[in-house]
C-alpha cells in the first residue's frame, strides 16, 4: 500500500535538504502544500528518491516550491522529472477572473447601458412596426402571396388551443370580481349593483386585458422562441437566400392570427367572466340568473362591448409585433433565446397596459362612459 505524501527537513552545512516521500497524487497530498509553504529557511535541495507516485498537481506543488527556493531537485524518477519539467514550461501568472470594476462605476455603467438598450429597443420596435406595415401593403397588393396555411395554423395555436385556459381564468376572475364587489356593496345595501360591476368591468377592461396578458404569455413568448431558434439555426438566413421574405412567411401570419384572434378571445373571455359572476350571484347573493341577465341588459351599454372590441385587435398587434421583433433580434447563442423571450413578454404586457390607459382616457373623451 502506498504512503500518503510526507516531508522531512534535514538541515545540513551546505543548505537544508527537504526529503519528500510517499504518494504525491492529488488524492494523497493532504496538507503538504501548506507544510511546504511554511518552510521559511533557504532550501538547497529537494530529495524525491522516496516518492513512489506523482501526478501533475503534485508536480506543480514541487515545481513551485523549487522555484521559490531556487532549489535543486534530486533523486526524482524519470516520470517525475518529465512531469515537473512539463508543468514548469512557460510558467506565467494567469488571471482567473476578469478585473472587477468599482461598484459605483459598475452601477452607473449598467444604468447607462439599460437606458441605451431601452431606447434602441423602442426605436427598433418602431422600425419593425414599419416593416410590418410595408409587408401588409405588399400582401394587400398581391393577396396570393399570403400564406393561408400558416395563418390558419397560427389561428389554431393562438386561439383555439387557448380556449380552455382563458375560459377557466375568466370564469374565476368573474367570480372574484362579483365576490369582492358584493362584500363592499353590501355595506350600502346595493348588492344588486354587483351586476353592473361585473358586466361593465369585464366588457370594458378585464376581459380583453386579461386575455391580452394570457396571449402574451402563451403566444408572444412562443413567437419569440420560435423565430429566435430559427434565427440561431440560420433557417431565416436560408429563407432569405431562397428569396422568401421572412416578414411575409413568418411574421405576417402571426400578426394576422393575433389580430383576428384577440377580439374573439376577448369576447369569449368577457362572456365566460359574466357567467362566472352570474354563478356567484346565484349561489351567494340569491339573484336568479334570469334577473341577472335582465339587469345586465339594462345597465351595460353596447358601447362597452365596442370599447373592448376596438382595443383587442390593437393589443393583438402589439403582442405579435413584440414577440416577432424580439425573436428576430436573437444572435449568436442559445442563452439569447431565453432572454429575448422574456423581453418579448415583458415588453408586450407593458405596452398593452400603457395603451390601455390611453384608450381609457380616449373613450371617456369620446363620451363612451
Amino acid at each position: 500500500m502506498m504512503q500518503p505524501a510526507n516531508l522531512q527537513e534535514d538541515p545540513r552545512d551546505d543548505g537544508t535538504v527537504v526529503h519528500l516521500s510517499g504518494n504525491l497524487a492529488v488524492a494523497h497530498l493532504g496538507d503538504l502544500p501548506e507544510q511546504l509553504d511554511a518552510i521559511s529557511r533557504p532550501v538547497a535541495r529537494i530529495d524525491m528518491a522516496q516518492v513512489d507516485h506523482i501526478d501533475t498537481i503534485g508536480a506543480w506543488t514541487v515545481h513551485r516550491f523549487a522555484a521559490r527556493h531556487k532549489a535543486e531537485i534530486v533523486g526524482a524518477s524519470e516520470d517525475a522529472t518529465r512531469l515537473i519539467s512539463e508543468v514548469g514550461r512557460d510558467d506565467e501568472p494567469m488571471a482567473i477572473r476578469p478585473d472587477p470594476t468599482p461598484p459605483l462605476q459598475r452601477v452607473l455603467g449598467e444604468i447607462g447601458a439599460a437606458t441605451r438598450m431601452a431606447g434602441n429597443t423602442m426605436v427598433g420596435l418602431l422600425g419593425f412596426f414599419g416593416a410590418t406595415l410595408v409587408a401588409s401593403w405588399t400582401l394587400i397588393k398581391h393577396p396570393r402571396r399570403l400564406r393561408m396555411n400558416a395563418v390558419v395554423q397560427r389561428l389554431e395555436v393562438v386561439g383555439v388551443s387557448a380556449l380552455a385556459i382563458i375560459g377557466l381564468m375568466s370564469f374565476l376572475i368573474g367570480i372574484v370580481i362579483a365576490q369582492q364587489g358584493s362584500v363592499q356593496l353590501r355595506q350600502f345595501g346595493l348588492e344588486v349593483m354587483t351586476i353592473n360591476l361585473v358586466g361593465r368591468l369585464t366588457f370594458r377592461e378585464l376581459g380583453v386585458l386579461m386575455t391580452a396578458i394570457m396571449v402574451a404569455g402563451r403566444s408572444g413568448s412562443a413567437f419569440a422562441a420560435q423565430l429566435g431558434t430559427m434565427k440561431l439555426t440560420e433557417e431565416i438566413d436560408a429563407m432569405r437566400t431562397i428569396g422568401v421574405s421572412p416578414m411575409e412567411a413568418l411574421v405576417m401570419p402571426r400578426v394576422i392570427a393575433a389580430i383576428i384572434m384577440m377580439p374573439l378571445l376577448g369576447f369569449y373571455a368577457s362572456i365566460v367572466a359574466i357567467i362566472g359572476g352570474g354563478f356567484l350571484c346565484a349561489v351567494a347573493l340569491d339573484i336568479p340568473p334570469v334577473t341577472f341577465v335582465q339587469r345586465l341588459r339594462e345597465v351595460v351599454p353596447i358601447t362597452d362591448l365596442y370599447v373592448g372590441m376596438i382595443k383587442a385587435p390593437v393589443f393583438g398587434l402589439i403582442i405579435a409585433i413584440c414577440g416577432c421583433f424580439q425573436g428576430m433580434q436573437v444572435k449568436a447563442n442559445a442563452e439569447e433565446v431565453g432572454n429575448r423571450t422574456t423581453a418579448a413578454v415583458v415588453q408586450a404586457i407593458f405596452l398593452v397596459i400603457v395603451l390601455d390607459a390611453f384608450f381609457a382616457v380616449f373613450f371617456t373623451w369620446v363620451g363612451w362612459i
Binding site: 500500500m1 496538507d31 506543480w60 506543488t61 501568472p93 488571471a95 482567473i96 477572473r97
Partner: protein, 292 residues
Amino acid sequence: MTPEEEAALEAEQRLEEAVQSSDIAISVRGLRNSFGEQTVHEDLDLDVRKGEILGVVGGSGTGKSVLMRSIIGLQTPDAGEVNVFGESMIGRLDDDEALAIRKRWGVLFQGGALFSTLTVAENVEVPLREYYPNIGAKLRDEIAAYKIRMTGLPNDAGPKYPSELSGGMKKRAGLARALALDPDLLFLDEPTAGLDPIGAAAFDEQTRQLQQTLGLTVFLITHDLDTLFSICDRVAVLADKKVIAVGTIEELLATDHPWIQEYFNGPRGRAAVSAQQKPKRELASGAQAERQ
C-alpha cells in the same frame, strides 16, 4: 477519521490497486440500449485496454455517443454490464460509492459543455473545488492556470467567459476541465469536429502528448479520419447495433465488412492514408538523397 471517510479511503485504495493491476480499463458486455421502438445497441461487447487511445467510429446514428453516455452512466441501458476498472457503473452516476471512479475520469462533451456563468479558469477549478476542497485557493488558481496553458490556450483565456471563446477554444477549455484532476480515463466526444485542419491537427498532437505524459486511457469518438490514422492505437467500428470490429487500422483494412471497406477505402479514407504515409516517403527520399 469517521467510518464514512474510512470506507471512502478503502474504496479508493481498492480502486488504485485495480487500476494498477488490470489491463482492461473499460469492459462492456451484452449492452442493449433502445429509445422507444428503435434499438440502438443490441448485445454490444467492447474492451478498452489501459493506456491506449481507442477510436470509436460509425455512421451517424449508430450510437457512438450513446455508448459513451452508457459507460459514464448518463444513460441507463436496458440490459448489459458496464465495468470501469472492474466496478459496475450502471445507474451509479449519483452514487456516493462510485465517487472514487468519477474522480478518475474526465469527459469532454461535443460542444465543450462549459458552465456559461463561470470564466474558463473557474470552469477548470470546479472539479478541484468539488472533489478536493482542502486544496488552498492560491494553489487551485495556479493549477487551473497550468492546465489551461497545457491545453494550448493563450494566457489571456483564463478570465474570459465561454461566450467570448471560439469553438476550438471552447474545446480546449473543456479539455482543460476534463484534465483538471489528472484522470486515468479520458472520454472525448468528437474533439476535432468543427475545428480547422490546423487546429484539429494541433488538438490531435496535444491529445497524443498528454496521453503519453500522463499515461491516459482515451476513449475517443470521432468522424475525423486523420485523427484515427495519426493518434489512435486501436479503432472500434460500430455498425449493425454492435461493435463489428476492433483492431489497428491495418487489421481493420484486412476485414471484408462492406462498411469498413467503404469507410477506409473511400476517397477520404485513401486521402488520409496517403497523408500519413507521406512523411515516411519523404524520409525515405531524403535518405536516398543523402546516399547520392
